[in-house]
Symmetry: C2
Subunit: 230 residues, 2 copies
């Protein structure tokens, strides 16, 4: 049954069969790989076509997106819901007594920060590669997007003042927030927020992040290799 | 302590002291009022200034937004986190065995649908009232936003096929999704999705929604009255 989010056995992470270089490193299966590595949980990877979307994919994920996490005969989508599900199984990603705060910051990362930071990243990408994105947005639109993103980054910086992690201890909320911020940061989006750049560096220095990123990039390398005629 | 999300006593819903007519009915405290009415839980209302943001407000909510739910000495922000917190207290908003599915659809409403529908609603508002929003967006941008919204609405329509509610029974996920969709629908955004319009009508016909909306609008009426010099 789709969506119950429980079940037993080795979890299966569903991601795309291939993506262009431009988005490698930022496909949202990274968050789930990272969480699974933090938990020390082995997992398998299955793929769905990037496009056109298959009926099987749309049956699992009505928006045709990834990631999806399958465990036994259960299947769960939305990276935030998967992170919360994995976190709720123990205290490694949800410290004792912190369920409310972790949930709050997980939603904040995906709802209050990512929409503005992702919009800015997309506009910057469209400026660099108008041949892929259709048209380069006018400068005043990019400036407007940057301003909206900065307002949200100010809020995160305020919340992180004097602490290493959002809720005090490392949690699933930091996986979501650092994953959102590092994508903006890779394009220079944290230039006015050095504290956030330090936070991202702290998060991405974790061995579990490095293992997850290595596996994420190896997946695309293998996809490239499979495309080369024998 | 901010963010632990537990506590005892009558919950206090924090919303703005006043908002312009344009956004009355769609301020996100509505979702929380609705959930509290579904649960039959009495609550009190406190306010923060719409602007400029007070230090007290920013200490509770680093982005200067509402709603915030305070219970005892605990305080929680992000409407998704508050809904999940309220839902997890019983089965009225999270049917037995449906925690994964409810969480998944709650994130889907706020993460996969609202960013695109809200962007469209904002552009339409800017077109109608450029004197408030700075400038009317060009038609091709509104069309692009409509197309992105429609793709997500297609996904929700697919998931609702053959069922009244997202996870089978009414849940917190329906509060979030119907609240997102009704705002787009009020501006004609569900014209190509009659099934979603029926879903919104079903959700907003619930007595708890009606009570919540009455209280929401009465709050702004009282705010207007307080502004009139005696």
């Amino acid at each position: 049954m789709t969506g119950s989010g429980t079940g037993t056995g080795t979890p299966v992470l569903v991601t795309y069969d291939w993506v262009p270089d431009l988005v490698r490193g930022s496909v949202r299966d990274m968050r789930i790989r990272w969480a699974l590595e933090e938990l020390g949980r082995p997992y398998r990877v299955e793929t769905v076509p990037l496009g056109p979307k298959s009926a099987e994919h749309l049956a699992m994920q009505p928006f045709g997106q990834v990631p999806i996490l399958k465990t036994g005969d259960h299947s769960l989508f939305e990276s935030g819901a998967i992170l919360l599900h994995l976190a709720s199984e123990g205290t490694a990603l949800m410290p004792e007594g912190q369920a409310g705060a972790v949930t709050q910051w997980l939603f904040a990362a995906l709802n209050s920060v990512e929409p503005s930071s992702f919009a800015w990243v997309l506009m910057r990408a469209a400026k660099r590669a108008p041949e892929i994105f259709g048209a380069a947005p006018p400068e005043n639109q990019i400036d407007g997007a940057a301003k909206r993103m900065r307002a949200r980054l100010d809020g995160v910086a305020r919340a992180l003042q004097g602490r290493d992690w959002l809720t005090g201890q490392f949690s699933a909320a930091d996986i979501a927030m650092a994953d959102v911020l590092r994508v903006a940061g890779a394009d220079g989006g944290l230039g006015e927020h050095p504290g956030l750049a330090v936070y991202v560096a702290r998060a991405t220095a974790r061995p579990a992040f490095r293992r997850a990123m290595d596996a994420h990039m190896a997946h695309w390398d293998a996809a490239d290799a499979a495309r080369v005629p024998a």
